[in-house]
């Protein structure tokens, strides 16, 4: 049976993915950053622009794994496990 991770999208990431949640297949030893590249390949350029800046996570994106926000610098070191939930949030600084 193929192993998967659960994905949750918010705000403009959700709009770019055209869904609020989905499951994605998970290969062994996949890091958070690798997963995002995999998702960007699947969803296209609009999604890629929402989550990535070049090869790295976009600076104003928050990513969490099982509810815990991950540090951007660690995105390529955090290896996902089957059944993990990854959430992607754009940060919206206020005005005023």
């Amino acid at each position: 049976m193929t192993e998967t991770v659960q994905l949750q999208y918010f705000g403009s990431v959700r709009a770019a993915a055209c869904c609020a949640e989905e499951q994605a297949p998970l290969a062994e030893n996949t890091s958070v950053l690798q997963l995002l590249h995999q998702l960007a390949d699947a969803h296209g350029e609009a999604f890629r622009g929402e989550v990535l800046s070049g090869e790295a996570l976009r600076d104003d994106l928050t990513a969490s794994v099982n509810g815990a926000i991950i540090q951007h610098a660690a995105a390529e070191d955090i290896v996902l496990q089957p059944g993990d939930t990854v959430a992607l949030f754009p940060i919206f600084p206020g005005g005023g």
Partner: protein
């Protein structure tokens, strides 16, 4: 000077006189505009210790350095300053729309309004001339009615009006100043200062050009800025807008819900930005010279609030939605519309109503106190009516109009434990128990419990730091944010577009192109630090101490977040000691939060050293 008019209009409402003053290039280069001008003018013109409602408290309007120019997303901003009736400290708020550009086109950069008119008046500043006109027929009108009546009376539908509604007239300490119907100088109760002066509004008509030092260079750079402002960095503001934060904050356990009893809202989908945009947004519009167009206008679709219209942002939606346990979008739209019409801070008002709902459910406020309202969490109709009662000072609304700090003292029964304010200013939409950098930012914010003087929640929510951990190094992060925000609020740049600017370098470049005053990035950063220190001195002069920085609401210290992503989080007094010590050290202040003589000399603030000396141990 270029861009700057160099003119300050002083108006004394007691004797009905006015005069024009001037400032020089040194003042412009040291203080930039906006925040810098506002803080400098206030500390220089306020007699220490005066009550906020004393006629001697100056109400100060300021434009930004680039106001009225083509620089995108800066052209329309202005700031308002006075001693705050909410905090007794620095009162400071910013607005946008069209009014700011009109002020400079009318010939002034700064208005300093003192005194109290014997009868209600409004000001009409028309291309350098000033009239103090009777507002007898305007007093009692809503902000929208007054704006229209002034335009009709003056026979010009293009006149720009910044004025107060019933809340300001009734000295509601949450009263704001409204312009262009949906725009507010919202926080710290400055509408009540205006009301205390019997001043209903300031109307403007300006046709004067604003000169810039290097038109060709500025045009070229602004083309680039316009492209950036239309690009991906601001796309989220044009599409879902800040209401997208509703789902995000709830999922991260940072959404203040039911007066901070929880940090996630089980009905958040009903009040999400996604639902708002799908079902309620009727128009998206922009400010003067702004390519972003972020202003989402919503209309209530059904029920007793059908037809209500409001501009929607995350903060007021949070305050009248999850904070009050309300998931009826129609009621939220109506509550925010009511705030615009009565002229009351839509963030603070929602926090006050949420506080009142908890008091009601604990039996500290009765149905009779509430004028027959059943003020339970989730009752959208009662919430809307309470905004009116607060503005008119009816029933319990008279006490709530004092803000949660003073209301809790009057209500008693332990209400102070869950009165969510810092230094008298109601908290905003980030549950700081699980955001330790933000907790420090809120604690030391120069205008009280607020996110807009530092934006330091960004460190916590982006995963750049451990959001649950208090560390001394957070002080330097908050300091850097504060000083940058002081510069942003001096130019005055819309914060929605701050990501299009590549740091101080870009801002310094635009400043020099516009004004002709040479400015380097390091100088500009120093200007921001100067403003932060001068604001600190103002607050110290008005009696603020380290203890005021330490005192978060008891619920923040003692009641852990009960569930969700931040379950168990509190900010302990030990956390605060670590954070404050780190912040003061980063600032070069002593351990009581007082700037040292060396720091003041470094920033060219030696003339104010006596304020620090007066409180130093």
């Amino acid at each position: 000077m270029n861009a700057y008019t160099g003119k300050i209009l002083y108006i004394d409402l007691t004797c009905g006189s006015c005069k024009t003053g001037f400032y020089d290039e040194a003042m412009a280069g040291d203080y930039i505009g906006g925040t810098g001008f506002g803080v400098k003018m206030l500390i220089d013109h306020l007699k220490p210790g005066l009550d906020a409602f004393d006629p001697g408290n100056p109400l100060i309007y300021v434009s930004g350095a680039t106001t009225g120019t083509i620089v995108p997303c800066t052209a329309s901003k202005f700031g308002v300053f006075a001693k705050s009736p909410a905090t007794g400290l620095l009162g400071e708020a910013y607005s946008t729309g069209q009014w700011g550009a009109e002020l400079r086109a009318a010939g002034y950069d700064v208005l300093v309004i003192t005194g109290k008119a014997p009868k209600p008046v409004y000001l009409f500043i028309d291309d350098g001339t000033v009239q103090i006109r009777s507002a007898r027929k305007l007093w009692g009108k809503s902000t929208w009615e007054a704006e229209q009546a002034i335009r009709d009376e003056l026979g010009d539908q293009n006149i720009r009006v910044s004025g107060i509604g019933r809340a300001g007239e009734n000295l509601n300490r949450l009263a704001c100043i409204i312009n262009d119907r949906f725009r507010a100088a919202g926080r710290t109760g400055l509408g009540a200062v205006m009301g205390s002066k019997n001043l209903k509004a300031v109307a403007l008509r300006g046709t004067q050009d604003v000169s810039v030092a290097d038109p060709e260079g500025l045009m070229a750079f602004c083309r680039d800025l316009f492209e950036r402002a239309k690009g991906p960095a601001t796309a989220k503001y044009r599409t879902l807008g800040t209401p997208a934060n509703m789902l995000t904050m709830s999922a991260q356990g940072a959404l203040p819900t039911r007066n901070y009893r929880e940090a996630e809202f089980e009905k958040v989908e009903n009040v999400s930005g996604e639902r708002l945009n799908e079902q309620f947004i009727t128009k998206i519009q922009g400010c003067s010279a702004c390519p972003c167009r972020c202003e989402h206008i919503a209309k209530a679709r059904e029920g007793r609030f059908k037809g209500a219209v409001s501009r929607m942002e995350y903060e007021p939606m949070m305050a009248f939605g999850p904070y009050c346990g309300v998931d009826d979008m129609n009621a939220i739209i109506k509550a925010i519309e009511s705030c615009n019409i009565y002229g009351v801070d839509a963030i603070g008002a929602g926090i006050v109503v949420g506080f009142a709902m908890e008091c009601y459910e604990r039996g500290l406020i009765t149905k009779e106190d509430a004028g027959g309202l059943e003020l339970n969490f989730g009752n959208g109709e009662a919430m809307v009516e309470m905004v009116r009662k607060m503005s008119e000072r009816e029933d319990i609304g008279d006490i709530l109009a004092e803000g949660v700090m003073r209301a809790a003292e009057k209500i008693g029964g332990g209400a102070a434990h869950f009165a969510m304010h810092i230094k008298g200013l109601e908290l905003t939409g980030y549950d700081i128990r699980g955001l330790k950098t933000a907790a420090l930012g809120y604690a030391v914010s120069r205008r009280g419990g607020d996110h807009q003087r530092h934006g330091s929640y960004g460190w916590d929510l982006s995963g750049k730091v451990d959001r649950f951990k208090a560390e001394p190094g957070r002080g330097a992060l908050v300091m850097g944010d504060e000083d940058m925000y002081a510069v942003i609020d001096s130019m005055i740049i819309c914060k929605f577009t701050r990501t299009i600017w590549q740091g101080y370098e870009d801002i310094a470049k635009v400043y020099s192109l516009v004004t002709g005053i040479p400015m380097e990035a390091d100088q500009l950063r120093l200007c921001g630090e100067r403003m932060s220190n001068l604001a600190r001195l103002f607050n110290i002069r008005e009696g603020m101490t380290r203890r005021d920085d330490e005192l978060l609401p008891a619920r923040i210290h003692e009641d852990p977040i009960p569930g969700g992503a931040a379950k168990g989080s509190v900010v302990t007094p030990e956390d605060m000691a670590i954070l404050l010590d780190g912040y003061y050290a980063a600032r070069g202040w002593d351990n009581q939060g007082v700037p040292t003589d060396e720091k003041l000399d470094e920033l060219g603030l030696g003339a104010y050293a006596s304020i620090a000396e007066g409180v130093r141990a």
